[in-house]
């Protein structure tokens, strides 16, 4: 069994074990005074860490009623926070994620946020690293080291921390009662069982699909709302695991761009959808997708009958998944497919077997950290 697959199969146990521990850390991270002073939130990071912020953003807005934006670290540091100082102390709350604890651009974001009087918290698996040292507060997400493969566990850890903070923030702000907060925590924990069921439902189908599509070099993933980042995450897993081209796209934007692609008419197009806000638009797009020859792979639950009946393949998802927490579970289809595709094409994760990647692998990470004055000098 491949390392990536092993890690995917370990996700339900990871969630069950980590929710209680992370919940305690999250609840002890902030004073009530700090939580009640939060008027806006910025979620940031690079790669999967950014996607996790995009996914959790909706929770903060819908449940906590706090304006929340998710930005890649470079945008957050050099184009957003640097130009904007809140009139309120400790604002915005900047919640940044760096699993390795060494990502320079995310450290830069934290430093800029502090220069602008924001309140900073880091989610990291490296509580002693430079990122953790830069943050005012951290949530320790350390996991025992495992062989290097496209990250699936760290993505769930980041999501869990953000959801748990959102739940706690909502109860402290008295938007929801403690009983309702308890129900939400239980529903979050239930994603472990939903993930177990989803893996059971889709694992063989993902393997079979990967073998069917092993000659394909180009994939498209679409989603919206909390599952637009699921499309980003799923596409990233294909590129990381197999080195192939995988393009994530917002559901609506597909109609404005990928619809016109004619180079590969039968491009496998993964449609990731719950039965919520974006679903009617998904249904409208299925006919044009078929008309231009796309192979449609639905990552969805059985109750989305219109979608499953029009798709060429279905990677089924458990039907009980709460839309708010759906990114935790809906990512399973894409990551399982990526893991099996890597096996089918005999790929080495992150191209670590190729000389030009191996020899120059580290140079991309050597980059300059800029503070506010450095950034402003370039205007």
């Amino acid at each position: 069994m491949s390392e990536m697959l092993k890690q995917i199969l370990s996700l339900p146990d990871l969630i069950s074990a980590q929710v209680p521990m992370l919940d305690r850390r999250v609840r002890e991270a902030f004073t009530h005074k700090e939580l009640l002073s939060i008027k806006e939130i910025v979620l940031t990071g690079c790669g999967d860490s950014y996607f996790a912020g995009l996914a959790a953003r909706h929770f903060f807005q819908r449940v906590c009623n706090i304006p929340t934006r998710a930005l890649p670290s470079l945008e957050a540091s050099r184009y957003d926070l640097v130009d904007y100082k809140s009139q309120f102390p400790n604002n915005p709350l900047v919640m940044a994620t760096s699993v390795t604890g060494k990502v320079v651009r995310t450290i830069e974001t934290i430093k800029i946020a502090k220069e602008q009087n924001g309140l900073t918290i880091g989610i990291t698996g490296n509580p002693e690293g430079p990122f953790a040292k830069a943050c005012e507060k951290i949530i320790d997400c350390y996991l025992p080291p495992s062989p290097h493969c496209p990250g699936v566990r760290s993505y769930r850890m980041s999501l869990l921390v953000m959801y748990l903070l959102g739940i706690h923030l909502a109860e402290v702000k008295a938007i929801i009662s403690q009983r309702e907060a308890g129900v939400l925590r239980e529903r979050l924990k239930e994603t472990a069982d939903q993930l177990t069921d989803t893996i059971k439902l889709s694992q063989e189908k993902a393997e079979s699909l990967a073998n069917t599509l092993k000659e394909v070099k180009y994939f498209v993933f679409i989603g919206d709302g909390p599952n637009y980042p699921t499309a980003l995450f799923s596409a990233a897993k294909i590129t990381e695991a197999c080195g192939l081209i995988a393009v994530p796209q917002n559901t609506e934007e597909w109609a404005h761009l990928q619809y016109f692609e004619s180079a590969f008419p039968d491009t496998p197009t993964f449609v990731i959808s719950t039965k919520h806000r974006g679903y009617p638009r998904i249904l409208e797009l299925l006919e044009p997708m078929r008309r231009v020859g796309r192979r449609i792979i639905a990552v969805t639950s059985a109750d989305c009958k219109e979608l499953t009946s029009l798709a060429d393949y279905v990677l089924p998802v458990n039907s009980a998944v709460d839309d708010l927490f759906s990114p935790i579970v809906y990512a399973a289809g894409g990551e399982l497919f990526a893991a099996y595709l890597a096996e089918a094409v005999n790929a080495t994760y992150f191209r670590e077997n190729l000389e030009n990647y191996k020899n120059f692998n580290n140079t991309i990470y050597t980059c300059e950290l800029m503070l506010k004055s450095d950034i402003k000098k370039r205007d």
Binding site: R27, F30, T31, L36, E171, V172, S177, Q178, R179
Partner: protein
């Protein structure tokens, strides 16, 4: 056969803070116990709720109690207990000040209560499902 003497009163609070009258439920348990002379001990196993005795005749008395406990122990944002909510933190203090148990005398199968006295469960951090343990002792 031993007479049943350990009971539970279930209480479902609907608000963040409220007084819930449980006198009738306790009287019914005394009756069920068939104990004619003894003691009735009430214990509240929660750390953000209390038991108290006060007048049940005018609901404004309960409103006064609620507002006065808030005046004495206001909900603040700088409690040390940050694990839950500010109202939870103040609820812990209110619980210690008001207390978690009550003791009554049973005479001729009846609770010896004053005419206007009622037994109240005082919720400080609801809404929640709560319970009160009742032990009735023959003596």
């Amino acid at each position: 056969m031993d007479k049943p003497n350990l009971f539970t009163v279930n209480v479902e609070s609907k608000k963040g803070q409220e007084l819930i009258l449980i006198t009738d439920e306790v009287k019914e348990l005394v009756k069920q116990s068939k104990i004619k002379n003894g003691m009735c001990f009430l214990f509240n196993p929660h750390s953000t709720a209390s038991l108290t005795i006060n007048s049940y005749l005018d609901r404004n008395t309960q409103a006064d109690l609620d507002s006065e406990i808030d005046r004495i122990i206001p909900t603040r944002v700088n409690f040390h207990h940050i694990f839950d909510t500010p109202t939870d933190a103040s609820g812990h203090i209110k619980t210690s000040v008001i207390g978690s148990d009550l003791l009554f005398i049973i005479k001729d199968g009846e609770l010896l209560l004053g005419k206007s006295q009622g037994i109240f469960f005082w919720e400080f951090d609801g809404p929640r499902d709560r319970n009160v343990i009742v032990k009735i002792i023959d003596c």
